[in-house]
């Protein structure tokens, strides 16, 4: 048997740059109230959301991703040709074949980078980051672009009081590359398929095609069950990610949970007993829940406003439909 050469990667990986794209149209709660019986006060008090962005026809999944990625690549100080992998996490790209990652890789000017889409709901960023780290350490790519992108407005039932106000659109991207020091901790991740009914698409596309339903599929959820799981089960996962990285809450500078609902964020902060000095991302207020895009978008904003700085230690945790989750500690770019 011939002896195979081992693959050779970098000792560790790190996030080198981040970029975001928020659609130009800002949608205040008043617009949501046109279709549901609710109030601005109720929406703010239950979710923290004041405004969200909705994409227009030109702001496609690919277009938003390319904008966000361009910024991430510039922020990382590399060129597109150096990128060996493009991972796109999305649940709202409606042309499933081919993967949208290939178009993005091409339009960005990568040199035939490996490109593929993944589906891991609101945990998609953490899943993508974990794959990227593996690719870099294993040696199949030097730099990998991880993109979370959603047009959830296309999957929102504007007449559903429980979800109409929650979702938004946008893209967030990071460049992951080689590092001499560990800068992405071990990922604590998993799935709980026994809870798949708590957040889901109403019906399969095929039911809609054959006219079995007249309403376009949308995302529905059992809000309180999700809330309970997100706050209490995910706080445990977050703690495990801290333990796995060998740090305590005191060592943290920044907490960037998936931006689902500010009430979930508040409760998690309490349950985790995060110290006062930890900066907490609350981008949900003006961005809504953008699923896979929410963590990189929040990260980009914290760095842009100076609330967080390069080199800070951040705990990131995504959780959502599946149910799936992924948490890890990272050094901010």
């Amino acid at each position: 048997m011939p002896k195979l050469k081992p693959s050779k990667g970098a000792p560790y990986a790190r996030i080198l740059g981040v970029g975001g794209y928020r659609p130009t149209r800002v949608v205040p709660n008043e617009v949501i109230l046109e279709k549901i019986d609710s109030s601005d006060e109720w929406i703010r008090s239950r979710s923290g959301i004041e405004t969200r962005h909705w994409a227009n026809d030109e702001e496609t999944v690919a277009a938003m991703s390319i904008e966000a990625s361009g910024k991430a690549i510039a922020d990382a100080g590399i060129s597109a040709e150096q990128i060996g992998g493009v991972i796109v996490s999305t649940v709202s790209h409606f042309k499933q074949t081919p993967a949208v990652a290939t178009e993005i890789a091409d339009k960005l000017g990568t040199n035939k980078a490996a490109a593929f889409d993944i589906s891991a709901g609101c945990a998609g960023f953490g899943y993508g980051l974990t794959l990227a780290k593996g690719m870099i350490v294993e040696g199949s790519a030097e730099y990998v672009l991880v993109i979370g992108v959603e047009r959830l407005s296309d999957l929102t039932d504007l007449e559903d009081r429980a979800t109409a106000f929650l979702f938004g659109d946008g893209a967030g991207a990071v460049v992951v590359g080689p590092s001499k020091e560990p800068a992405i901790g071990p990922t604590v991740w998993g799935s709980e398929g026994d809870k798949s009914e708590t957040i889901k698409q109403t019906v399969p596309w095929t039911d809609y095609r054959v006219g079995e339903v007249d309403k376009f599929p949308a995302i529905t959820q059992e809000g309180q069950a999700v809330f309970r799981w997100a706050v209490f089960e995910m706080a445990k996962v977050a703690q495990q990610a801290l333990d796995a990285a060998g740090i305590t809450p005191d060592d943290l500078d920044v907490f960037i949970p998936h931006q689902a609902n500010e009430r979930i964020i508040d409760s998690m902060v309490k349950t985790l007993k995060l110290p006062e000095h930890v900066t907490v991302a609350r981008d949900v207020r003006t961005t809504g829940n953008t699923s896979a895009a929410s963590i990189p978008l929040a990260m980009e904003r914290l760095l842009a406003t100076g609330e967080a700085k390069s080199g800070d230690t951040a705990l990131v945790i995504g959780f959502g439909a599946g149910l799936v989750y992924a948490a890890t500690v990272v050094t901010l770019p």
């Binding site: 008090s45 239950r46 059992e222 309180q224 809330f227 309970r228 706050v231 009430r263 409760s267």
Partner: protein
């Protein structure tokens, strides 16, 4: 050892105080969580989880909506505590 009604009310009072900032003496059997104690439907989930831990009970989501008053919750815990 199972908690008495009095102990459960006192425990719920602590929990509601911690979560909604309501003075413990205001938490009485006839008080409604949402109307009297400033505990909205999401804070109620937090109250329930805290009560589960404190009194060793399981309170599934479908039962939470029936717990309108402190008295409802107390009866539920008395009946189901481990």
């Amino acid at each position: 050892m199972a908690a008495t009604q009095e102990e459960i009310v006192a425990g719920l009072a602590d929990i509601v105080n911690e979560i909604a900032g309501i003075p413990v003496e205001d938490v009485q059997l006839d008080k409604s969580f949402t109307d009297d104690l400033d505990v909205d439907s999401l804070s109620m989930v937090e109250v329930v989880v805290a009560a589960e831990e404190r009194f060793d009970v399981k309170i599934p989501d479908e039962d939470v909506k029936n717990l309108k008053t402190v008295g409802d919750a107390t009866d539920y815990i008395l009946k189901h505590q481990g």
